[in-house]
Amino acid sequence: MAVQTEVATETVTVHIMGKRYEVPKGLTILKAIEYAGYRLVRGVGCRGGFCGACATVYRKAGDFRLKVGLACQTVAEDGMYLTQIPFYPATKAIYDINALKPSADAVLRYYPEVVRCLQCGTCLKVCPQELDVMRYIAAAMRGDIAKAADLSFDCIQCGLCTSRCPAEISHYHVAMLSRRLYAKHIASPAPHLTQRLEEIRAGKFDAELEALMKADKETLRKLYAERDIEPEELVPSTKTDED
């Protein structure tokens, strides 16, 4: 119990937009800002690292380096000077995904600024998802849409890369276009889905469904209890570590 009291009373000093606050040690930046009394409207969304609403930049006293992080996923530390970037302007192109081909042309037509990349690496240093942002931009630029889609998949659209890029690229919009191009035009449509849709259209399951809908609770219980369960497939996947 002694440990618990100690944890609760220990505080750190943080500076929110230049104003000093004492907050309990161990809180995330998001919770620290709230603890300090801010009822947030901007700069918070999922609270779980998925939405990118809480991008934050900070410096620690005595350190020249500018750091970034997600407020909901980063612990507030003593001596932080921080501010949130709840919005950063970035232009999204308007396109008809059906009319495009998965090629460099599509990327360059809507986001021609990608060719201005200086390969400075700033974007990959700031990405809170630790994505190789520079490489996905390079892949998109040269038309390797599959690679751009794969490398950018975990992007949460926080805009931190875009806020720091000297070439003024809107990375996450390029990534969005690349992924949709890949999934729509490169990946094969699922064959079993086509078959199932035909079966449904032909009414193959109608009678069975109607019967289930009419069945009383006891019949359903019985059917449910007796239904067979597909075994787990435990053969290690064919893909390996390296891909």
Binding site: K31, C51, D154, H192, L193, Q195, R221, A225, E230, E232
Partner: protein, 545 residues
């Protein structure tokens, strides 16, 4: 923050029993055993935390106290003072809520040639949909069928689901997956296009489709991108605070409140789609939650005030595996896919205590039993209790690199706090996750109020008393689409009368008659997480509201 010593001892036991556990199987519970476990340990059965509603169409029905507080509260609007004559915007279909259900509704409504506007509380896509990790169900493999899916849904829901809604859910499912595929959603696939599918709790076939462990995020961002391409407008930071009904009690518009400028907007619409999501941020019974910041039951509150009935609001889904350590991410989700991929749940002694893919309510109850009466929970330095989820097993079962490939979000989340889930287990405890019930709908997503359509987590009936994983992402798209289509069709022939707030006046009178004199106002819109001292200072030291 790697594990402290007090927890390391128990981890050693988890490792010790791992090779034996890999060989042994654990029995499933019979329906009777499940029921007994639920009654003894599931939070829904702690009846002292519920109360019967004093007013409204569900008067007398039990709901959680936290929700009752919002339903037995006044409107933010004074119906006698508010001026409805100034109309700020007119549209055919107004969609409340920019999550998955709302955005799907917008896309399908607009395709029918009507004007559409989305009004949402935070940014477009700040929603539970964005957070869904595990996957989306659809019976599209040869060994599966919509009928099997139907049976699984009914069994999971306690056989009380509304049959027509379940039928719509399972028969539209393959179509929805094809729709997503055609929009450019990047599903996990084999090279020939075959979907990689796994089990979820309560599934009899492997029918969980995924986009790594960012399934909801991928679906949400593609839908939003497509809607932007099609010129669909969204008003952000403008939540709905009240519906408008005409003299025949038909829904003809909404009052929105701008969170930043503090203005009220009157929007007239021929049809309204309610897609406001769930209520995790009410923290039922003090549980932490997996839900986003805006999950505060607003839709339930405003629809109920307008006379819409609710169903199954006395049951809440607790996800069995919320984070119990580290403290910073307490209550956040550890996706069920982790168990789907084979990880065991283990107590302090290194032993299994439940078959991991029982339905969520059952697994949650089993964990609570382990951590309370059985005293077999693992205690953290801040006094939280939990059980282990043995993640390293996944790579042993399925090959090295599987965890990294299939669960990048999970790996990253824990790595941020110094825990390597490919080598160490994670500590979990149930967390408030999903609103099983909601506003009653028909299979065309219409509600009992003319002109009001309801879709997604705010609706009730599809999942009965307990939703299965992967059926909610499906639900929001199946019924989001149906709501969009129905609303467009309605809007084309509707003749809306004059908007009024008579229903609010009525509701206030009912409250008074029931002897409820309160300062509480609802909807909540956003929770207040400021410290108690900050709240006291805000009120000049008078009271805490």
């Amino acid at each position: 923050m790697p594990y402290p010593e007090m927890m390391q001892e128990s981890i050693a036991k988890v490792e010790e029993t791992r090779s034996r556990r890999l060989r042994e199987s654990f029995p499933r519970l019979s329906l009777e055993e499940r029921q007994r476990l639920l009654e003894a340990y599931h939070p829904d059965y702690r009846r002292e935390t519920f109360r019967p509603l004093a007013v409204g169409p569900n008067k007398g029905d039990l709901v959680p106290n936290e929700l009752a507080d919002l339903l037995e509260a006044k409107s933010r609007i004074d119906p006698d003072l508010f001026d409805l004559s100034r109309v700020d915007y007119e549209t055919d279909v107004l969609i409340i809520g920019g999550g998955g259900a709302g955005t799907a509704a917008a896309l399908w409504a607009q395709e029918q040639g009507v004007d559409v506007l989305i009004a949402t509380k935070l940014r477009w896509g700040d929603a539970n949909t964005m957070m869904a990790q595990g996957g989306i169900q659809a019976a599209d493999k040869p060994n599966d069928s919509p009928a099997r899916h139907y049976l699984d849904v009914m069994g999971g829901g306690g056989f009380v689901n509304i049959p027509e809604l379940v039928k719509a859910l399972v028969t539209d499912a393959p179509f929805i997956i094809r729709w997503l595929e055609s929009l450019g959603v990047m599903f996990d696939k084999e090279p020939d296009g075959t979907m990689i599918t796994v089990h979820g709790g309560g599934t009899s076939r492997r029918r969980m489709h995924s986009c790594r462990d960012y399934t909801g995020m991928e679906i949400m961002r593609v839908l939003r991108d497509e809607a932007r391409n099609r010129g669909i407008q969204a008003w952000e930071f403008r939540p709905a605070v009240e519906l408008l009904l005409d003299e025949s009690r038909q829904c003809v518009g909404v009052i929105l409140y701008d969170l930043e400028t503090e203005e009220y907007f009157v929007v007239r619409a021929k049809a309204v789609v309610l897609a406001t999501g769930g209520m995790g941020r009410l923290h039922i019974q003090g549980f932490p939650t997996t839900n986003h910041y805006g999950a505060t039951a607003d839709g339930i509150v405003i629809a109920y005030r307008a006379g819409a009935r609710m169903i199954f609001m006395d049951t809440v889904q607790y996800h069995p595996t919320g984070v119990a350590y580290p403290e910073q991410i307490l209550g956040q989700l550890v996706t069920e896919k982790v168990r789907g991929l084979g990880a065991h749940l283990i107590n302090v002694d290194g032993e299994r205590f439940i078959y991991e893919l029982e339905t969520r309510d059952v697994v949650s109850a089993a964990i609570i039993r382990e951590c309370t009466d059985k005293g077999k929970g693992v205690v953290t330095p801040t006094g939280m209790v939990g059980v282990w989820l043995d993640t390293p097993m996944i790579d042993i079962l399925r090959g090295k690199g599987t965890i990294q490939r299939a669960l990048p979000a999970m790996v990253r989340q824990f790595a941020r706090f110094g825990i390597d889930i490919t080598k160490e287990p994670i500590l979990v405890y149930p967390t408030q996750h999903y609103q099983n019930g909601g506003i009653i709908i028909r299979d065309d997503a219409s509600s009992e109020i003319a002109g009001l359509f309801v879709a997604g987590e705010v609706s009730g009936g599809v999942h009965g008393r307990n939703r299965l994983m992967g059926n909610s992402l499906l639900d929001i798209l199946v019924f989001g689409r149906r709501a969009g289509l129905s609303a467009a069709e309605w809007a084309k022939q509707a003749s809306p009368g004059t908007p009024t707030l008579d229903h609010v006046r009525d509701y206030h009178r009912q409250l008074q008659e029931a002897g409820i004199n309160t300062d509480r106002v609802s909807p909540m819109l956003l929770p207040d997480y400021t410290s108690e001292i900050a709240r006291i200072r805000r009120l000049g030291g008078v009271t805490i509201g």
